[in-house]
């Protein structure tokens, strides 16, 4: 007999059998008997958050804004401002003081250097010989 004839006669049936309802009962028992794996009970542990942990982001944010404010204030102070300059035109007290001859000679003239002062004297016709007499 040819092998193909034999195989076609058998038609993929091995003749082996199982007890009735075997696979259903096997599946049920197998699933029930699966041991519990360590990773099955693993749950992420959620720790209670302290007061500081809750407010920390807000504190950090407030500190950051405060730092920015301080930095801006410092830059503002360092910047040369036109309001801080003392000018004659917009300072009436200074204008009045300069107009006062006494103040002018006491404070402003004293700051003149000697050469300028002699130049002014010579321009007015000062003669040094007169001092020797």
């Amino acid at each position: 007999m040819k092998t193909q004839d034999i195989l076609s006669k058998v038609n993929h049936d091995s003749g082996l059998t199982v007890p009735p309802g075997y696979f259903d009962s096997f599946n049920k028992q197998m699933i029930e008997s699966l041991p519990v794996q360590p990773w099955e009970s693993e749950r992420p542990i959620v720790l209670p958050r302290s007061f500081w942990q809750r407010v920390r982001p807000y504190v950090y944010m407030a500190a950051m804004f405060a730092g920015i404010w301080c930095m801006m204030k410092m830059f503002d102070l360092m910047r040369p401002s036109s309001n801080n300059m003392i000018g004659f035109s917009n300072n009436s007290e200074l204008t009045a003081a300069i107009s006062n001859d006494e103040f002018y000679y006491d404070y402003c003239m004293s700051s003149l250097d000697e050469t300028t002062m002699y130049d002014a004297l010579f321009d007015e016709g000062f003669n040094p010989e007169e001092l020797n007499n």
Binding site: G15, N27, M30, P35, Q37
Partner: protein
């Protein structure tokens, strides 16, 4: 049966990887694969009780190493590998226990098949079982997978780690030997 073996689907593998759904998903795996795996094991070890024990061990081993299953291979391939390894280990232990080779051990088991209450085949089926039992271990395995499971050579290649060409040659040789067994018996 080969079409029924294409159980692998992405959803099932995804559920197996999730620790919350893994147990239920593995239950589905047991339901889907118990029968094809059982027949594969049974044809190798012949005895129903032995096949039952090996099937249990196969699923237990798969369950215990489910974390290592990364989905690179097909789920069916992975399970078949475990089942075949378990069956071969069993046959090896049996042959050592009886101090005979694996092939002889299977032949001894096969001799008892006639009195097996879970065999209701006719004369020609019994003769074919004997012819298959006379084959070397690897050829027997290849013949069973190809003929009874109608498994594709490509999947067999993945499971057994042998090239498709070698499997085809092995199956061809097995068929020739079975033919020779029948002609000698006549």
């Amino acid at each position: 049966m080969a079409d029924n073996l294409e159980y692998d689907d992405k959803d099932l593998v995804a559920r197996l990887r999730d620790t919350k759904t893994c147990r239920v998903a593995f239950g589905d795996v047991v339901k889907m694969y118990s029968e094809p795996l059982y027949w594969q094991i049974r044809r190798m070890v012949i005895n129903h009780d032995d096949a039952n024990d090996i099937l249990q061990n196969t699923f237990l081993k798969a369950w215990n190493s489910i974390e290592n299953f990364r989905g690179d291979a097909k789920l069916s391939t992975w399970l078949y590998k475990i089942a075949i390894n378990e069956s071969l280990t069993f046959l090896e232990k049996e042959s050592k226990r009886n101090a005979v080779s694996i092939d002889d051990a299977t032949a001894n088991v096969l001799n008892a098949i006639e009195s097996d209450k879970f065999f209701d085949g006719d004369e020609i089926q019994l003769k074919l079982r004997k012819a298959i039992a006379s084959l070397p271990e690897k050829q027997r395995l290849v013949f069973n997978m190809r003929y009874y499971d109608e498994m594709k050579y490509e999947q067999m290649s993945e499971i057994l780690g042998t090239s498709v060409g070698a499997l085809k040659a092995s199956y061809h040789l097995a068929v020739k030997k079975i033919e020779s067994f029948f002609s000698d018996d006549d």
